[in-house]
Amino acid sequence: MFDFLDIFFVQQLINGLAQGLVYALMAIGFTLIFGVLNVVNFAHGEVYMLGAFVGLLVIQVWAPPLVAVILVVVVVGLLLGVGLERVAFRPFRRFNDEASLKSKALREATLLSSLAISIFVRELTQTYFGSEMQAIPQRYLLMTPIKIGALNLVSGQLVILGVGLLMFLVLQYTLFHTRVGLSIRAVANNLSGATHVGINVGQTIIATFVIGSILGAVSGALVGLYTGNIYAQMGFAPGIKAFVAMVMGGLSSIPGAVISALVLGVSESIATQFISQGWSDLISYGLLVLTLLVFPRGLFGGSDERV
């Protein structure tokens, strides 16, 4: 079936898709929050990291089945979302009119406040747990090899693919078929309009943060178990890549962000095969700059917006 392609190439392609899915899982939550509030949430990487750490703690203390671990992580993600919105975003939303909510000042203030929070949390975790990788009990690692023909897969890749698809579908369902989703879309579309038809904007924004953070925390826990690397800095690099994927995809388009994340992952892993590991970052950032040069609004972005 693959005889016209080098089997190693196909293998790299699959590894790349798995890596891209890791970025995509994060980019979904990132983009959701940006789409509603127009602010960059730099602390998303730390939600991802905390999700992984909480998952690990639960495993170390109670050793429940994986589903129970994920449920605990979901609850923690919910709490993190509420807390993050309260600490890093609400204090800067001093006025609720449209102009100040879309203003550059708000965007910069929240970008930096979420960045400050993220540095704080990362350093706190690092001081408490140390900077080395955490030991994960063997039976929880999602690394069971699966052979399909000549290809070597790992169970984690399938789990991530499944969970990624599930998250994407659940999110699309929530956004387009539930009341919460309706109000989130309304606030994203036109904030003052949403206020006028009686939507509680404050609660909707909290709901957005909760959904985004749950997605982030769960993907952190799963990716941590899949790669076996849980450490304080684990959220940083995927966070930057998710940010890049979001912008490449056109800022507020979730499918666009997912596609861009997959493209990033695949191009990185193919680059690793042809040139050395160190240069592979060059490919993804080069791709970003090139995309922005050709499509100044991203691949799936809307038209020019007058703020």
Partner: protein
């Protein structure tokens, strides 16, 4: 110009002389190093302020331009044996050229797109520094870079301070000129600028070129004064801390950028005893300053008002 009008301009000079005298009296190498770092970071923050604060284009890759300057100076002086005068100028020009090229490529991008494009460019430059081992010597960095030529720490500090002061003076003249006003207009509304008959793209390119020149010279000063550079000095987190300096000080204000650089460079040194809690303290300062001082410590408007009220200062005339 009478004495009364001139003295506010003499205050920074006198303060500088006092600090300098204090350093000579203290005479420890550590104090000189900290003072040199503060001066260089001040210039760097002021150059970032020109793009981010005055022209309103948030940059997330400024450390990479700083790095280009540092590498140019380091390679030119250690491989070709060029004297510091040449390497400083060369570093400024090379960085400025790269900045012009980047600005020309990204001239159509606005707000967060520009920020992410500079992030991308910054990472590309960082990865190149890290991996082009034949040219940049890779992660090991460049050691034994020739110094600035003075025979004492005090002499080196004097050279660094003088170069920084000249460039800062130039930057302040640029900010308070018609060109600076055009950049401020660009920050407020790009389409309005275009409607007034100015070209936003050209303004962006010019601002980037000027700012990158200063960043490049700052990098060269850094390379010559620490005499060792490695790619780790120029990664994304450094860009973020430069941005933090500008924001803590107040976007658009030159004194603010200097003050931000002073605070964010001195605090880590003072807090060294805190050890692992140092970065937490810095992020705490950053968060508190954004929350409680939305215009920064020394925002443009408040700085001008303060000068007018206390010094009867009528702006740069």
């Amino acid at each position: 110009m009478n004495v009364y009008k001139a003295w506010p301009r003499l205050v920074p000079l006198l303060a500088l002389l006092a600090i300098y005298a204090g350093l000579v009296a203290a005479g420890s190498g550590y104090a000189y190093r900290v003072a040199t770092t503060v001066a260089i970071m001040g210039l760097l923050a002021a150059s970032a302020n020109l793009i981010t604060g005055v022209a309103g284009l948030m940059t997330l890759g400024h450390a990479a331009f700083y790095g280009i300057g540092a590498y140019t100076a380091a390679l030119a002086s250690s491989d070709w044996g060029a004297p510091p005068v040449v390497t400083l100028l060369l570093a400024g020009l090379v960085t400025s050229l790269v900045g012009l090229l980047v600005a020309w490529l990204t001239r159509k991008l606005v707000s967060v797109h520009f920020a992410v494009a500079t992030l991308g460019v910054g990472q590309v430059i960082y990865v190149t520094m890290l991996n082009w081992v034949d040219f940049t010597r890779g992660p090991m960095g460049i050691t034994d870079i020739p110094g600035l030529g003075a025979h004492s720490d005090a002499g080196n500090l004097a050279i660094v301070t003088a170069v920084c002061a000249v460039l800062l003076w130039g930057l302040s003249r640029i900010i308070h000129s018609y060109f600076g006003n055009a950049l401020r207009a660009l920050r407020e509304d790009e389409r309005c600028v275009a409607a007034m008959g100015l070209s936003p793209a050209r303004l962006k390119i010019q601002a980037m070129g000027l700012s990158c020149f200063c960043a490049g010279v700052a990098g060269a000063l850094w390379a010559h004064s620490t005499r060792y550079i490695s790619p780790a000095d120029f990664r994304f987190t450094e860009s973020i801390s430069i941005l933090a300096m500008v924001v803590v000080g107040g976007l658009g204000s030159l004194p603010g950028a200097l003050l931000g650089a002073l605070i964010l460079t001195l605090f880590p040194e003072l807090l060294r005893s805190l050890g692992d809690y140092r970065m937490m303290a810095i992020s705490g300062i950053m968060f508190a300053s954004i929350l409680f001082l939305p215009r920064g410590l020394f925002g443009e408007a408040s700085a001008l008002r303060l000068l007018k009220r206390h010094f009867n200062w009528q702006g740069a005339q």
